[in-house]
Symmetry: C2
Subunit: 128 residues, 2 copies
């Protein structure tokens, strides 16, 4: 089922240069820290099912400033990549980079998480 | 090579009841957080090679109060089990509990970590 969600525009004041670590600089401790939060894990689960999403469309129920923080933690750890297109910010999972540097790690982590929490889209969350 | 290390006694004032989560209550986010620190990862690596160790014998270079904090984070996440025997505290990895609840997770995490950091005993650390 495809759910249409409103794409929230980003105020010009919030736009800034987005920096990302290189693939060969990813640190597993940063990745583990980034994944140790339920909102950030929901973001990762969502991106595994849907490769690129606009920032206002994730099924998480947190304040915009909190969500911005979570995206920054994931981005600075190298888990996600973000790009701006006009007044929208788009997010992807850095699946190939993570798999090349830490084979099997993200899969093992998400599998473990899904043993205790259902993936998004199963009715437990609402789009923010 | 077997290295003999001094076992540090624990002052009576620091002794207290040690609580541990049940095996079926382990939370993967707590486990990931517990593993997202280099000192705590060194403790886990050490216990994988040597099943039970006294608390003063880990090859980490941090203050005793900091080490106590790291042990508590690992213990409360269910990664390690600690027991007191006289004035010594002994630590083991909860390998079977972790493997039963999150198959392959700790192995994947430690393997990823060892791609970027050598295991203890390779000369990089000193016993504290």
């Amino acid at each position: 089922m495809v759910v249409e969600r409103e794409v929230v525009s980003m105020p010009r004041s919030q736009r800034r240069t987005l920096t990302h670590p290189e693939a060969d600089e990813l640190d597993v401790l940063d990745v583990l820290h980034a994944l140790s939060d339920p909102t950030r894990m929901t973001i990762v689960q969502t991106l595994r099912a849907d490769p690129e999403r606009a920032c206002g469309t994730f099924p998480v129920d947190v304040a915009p400033s909190t969500l911005t923080h979570h995206f920054r933690v994931l981005r600075e750890a190298g888990v996600i990549r973000q790009r701006e297109d006009g007044n929208r910010r788009w997010t992807t999972l850095r699946r190939d980079d993570l798999e090349a540097r830490f084979p099997g790690l993200v899969e093992a982590v998400v599998t473990a998480y899904e043993r205790q929490a259902p993936p998004p889209g199963s009715g437990a969350g609402q789009p923010h």
